[in-house]
Symmetry: C2
Subunit: 404 residues, 2 copies
């Protein structure tokens, strides 16, 4: 394939993250360095903006404003849940032809890499020279071929800080607390709650992941054991916990809608937390049981970010542009860990990332199935960056009682 000259289109897809705009700005600033890229358009709301021919000219942004946008969570271009079929992709290519677009950078998760793959194949079939490069992003951390994905470290930091606070709250006013964390198939984000622990009796005391079958009776026994030992219990639960047959616990509860990708809607409802607290109250007779469903805060909260995540989200986008222009290749840019701690970026074929899901490796999950291992904590720690606040605790000795 020849090196191509023409415009670049960048778009954002799927759930927002704290650093997805770092990748957007990385594409814009890096593209400006390459003469072969004659302009950078942003498609509004992902692929849907391409077929609607709804572009903004990102070449007219100031560098100061771009840097302001880079540190702003959520997708500055807007997002979409559209999953293009063949006809949709044909429209995308029509628009690309019309605007002389030769570079397509799509920032998103596994659904988005699948979209990039389809557009890429369609272009090839129709004889239109196009570089399609997928730039990874997902708080779920579930993309194949990646050590981790941009967006995950910042969301993990939020979850860890949230559980650190909940643990302290629960210690002050004892009871059982259930915190429900995002993650449809992979438990990485729920597992990050373990980084909240400082002292031996700190919570979360129990962690339930989609990778391990959830058995209600075992769960209740676990809670009873912790509660009788400590007088309190903090529990982290993934929204995607499943029974032995792989059926989400939540979907057995309610008649829920599915999105355009056939995914069950697990977020935006507190039902799982309510169900579990009700079970604990009814079956264990514990009075003070509360749940919090973290919802959109964990992916969008303004002001909780890992600078490691910010740098990598920027870098992975710069590499995407460099690879597309200089190396004349398509694919998904993936993050590899080299040493402890540094990363490098490689190009993976789109079909190896597209529409597949990476789960927590077994060495990250405790044998009991209700916790994570030190190996996981070592994996996550460097990703959180600096400024992770640490909880303190009093160590004053008890005063001798004077009453008989």
């Amino acid at each position: 394939m020849a090196q191509l000259t023409g415009k670049a289109v960048v778009a954002q897809s799927g759930g927002p993250t704290a650093v997805i705009n770092q990748s957007l700005v990385g594409v814009v600033l890096e593209s400006a360095k390459h003469a072969r890229i004659t302009g950078v358009y942003g498609a509004m709301n992902g692929v849907s903006g391409i077929v609607r021919e709804d572009f903004v000219d990102l070449g007219q942004e100031t560098s100061y404003n771009l840097e302001r946008v880079a540190v702003t969570p959520s997708s500055a271009l807007g997002s979409t849940r559209d999953k293009p079929d063949e006809k949709y992709c044909e429209e995308i290519l029509q628009v690309f032809r019309l605007h002389d677009v030769r570079y397509f950078f799509y920032i998103g998760g596994n659904d988005s890499s699948d979209t990039a793959r389809i557009v890429n194949e369609q272009a090839r079939k129709s004889g239109y020279d196009l570089r399609a490069v997928h730039i990874p992003k997902t708080i779920d951390n579930d993309l194949m071929q990646n050590d981790h994905t941009p967006g995950y470290p910042s969301a993990a930091k939020f979850v860890a800080q949230a559980f650190a606070g909940i643990n302290l709250d629960n210690a002050a006013l004892p009871g059982v607390h259930v915190g429900v964390v995002m993650g449809r198939h992979a438990g990485f984000l729920t597992a990050s709650s373990s980084l909240a622990r400082v002292y031996p009796e700190d919570g979360p005391h129990l962690i339930y992941l989609p990778e391990t079958p959830f058995v209600a009776e075992d769960f209740l026994m676990d809670v009873r054991e912790v509660y009788s030992r400590l007088g309190r219990c903090v529990i982290a639960v993934s929204e995607g916990i499943q029974d032995r047959d792989g059926v989400p616990i939540l979907s057995t509860l309610m008649d829920m809608g599915r999105d355009d990708h056939g995914n069950v809607q697990l977020s935006g409802t507190g039902a799982l937390g309510e169900l579990l607290t009700q079970q604990i109250k009814d079956r264990l007779g514990i009075k003070r049981v509360r749940s919090d469903t973290f919802g959109y805060l964990q992916r969008s909260f303004l002001g909780c970010v890992s600078e490691v995540d910010q740098h990598e989200a920027r870098e992975v986008a710069e590499k995407a542009v460099q690879i597309a222009v200089a190396h004349d290749a398509d694919g998904s840019v993936t993050i590899q860990r080299v040493g402890d701690y540094a990363v490098d970026y490689t190009l993976s074929p789109l079909h190896e990332v597209a529409a597949r899901t990476r789960l927590m490796p077994m060495e990250f999950i405790s044998r009991s199935g209700n916790n994570v291992t030190d190996a996981f904590r070592r994996y996550l720690e460097p990703l959180l960056g600096s400024g992770m606040p640490q909880a303190g605790a009093l160590r004053s000795p008890r005063v001798k009682k004077l009453r008989g």
Copy 2:
């Protein structure tokens, strides 16, 4: 009354905050400066620790560890919801006599100031010389005689940052979002969501407070208007919204427990958010409607704090000790705003603060009843301190469409 010599007991009560340990540390460090205070004991879990004679000797803490505890959210001594009656107070006094306790510093909200009042009156009746000083704390900001209360500014900062993120998320993936915020009677914390706005079309677009009667039909009309204008709508709702008769909207929904103070349990359940989203879906036919109930994160999240709040929480406790020792007086230390922006501390009689509730003044609520005024924003802004992150936005021009 003569100046007293004896031990001090400090205790923490009610819902934890991000800065309640600043007040604890303020009492400990200030007490060490006064020879009349012969020791500082911390009562574990509020007044319940006193009657159980469960004290720690805070004089044996290092200053470094105290400063670590000061920046840790939640109540380091543990908390309680106990509301002492006469018999309970008699036991408190017995223990105080036994340990020669002459100074009682109780950090908490209006229920706690009422406890301090009862203990104070009982001591006087039984002829035991005791200084009882209430140190204000509540994220609800609903204490009489205070311009604002320690804990509120940090919780308000969390709520503002959360809504800034939700607004960006909602702009990227449009729909309706309902965020449910703590506050049983007073809407101050819900109102702080307004500080999230930067650009004219930023959410929250609608804010519902307990101070204004909530009428479902008006609510639905408001949502429809915003949604048809902007294609999206972000809503901040207090957990304590009430109907025209003062009945909490949530309590009309479910059979709920009440705590020892007769308060309905409004937190720890996502029911209000679910109800409102269901109404919007059913009645307005909008598909993408989500809710988040902020829960314990807003009062305990580790790492979201206003340094103004930290300083004031420390100062108000220092003043409490100074007043008790040097000025030989009982009461509640209250925060007064002097100038723009500085504060001073005064002593208010306990009965003026105890068990009463301060609501949002009318000039802080928009005439439409579904938003707040600029006066409120000017009131809150200096309390949030520095480091309030600002959202950025692209301003690239639209590209001309080439298709006919």
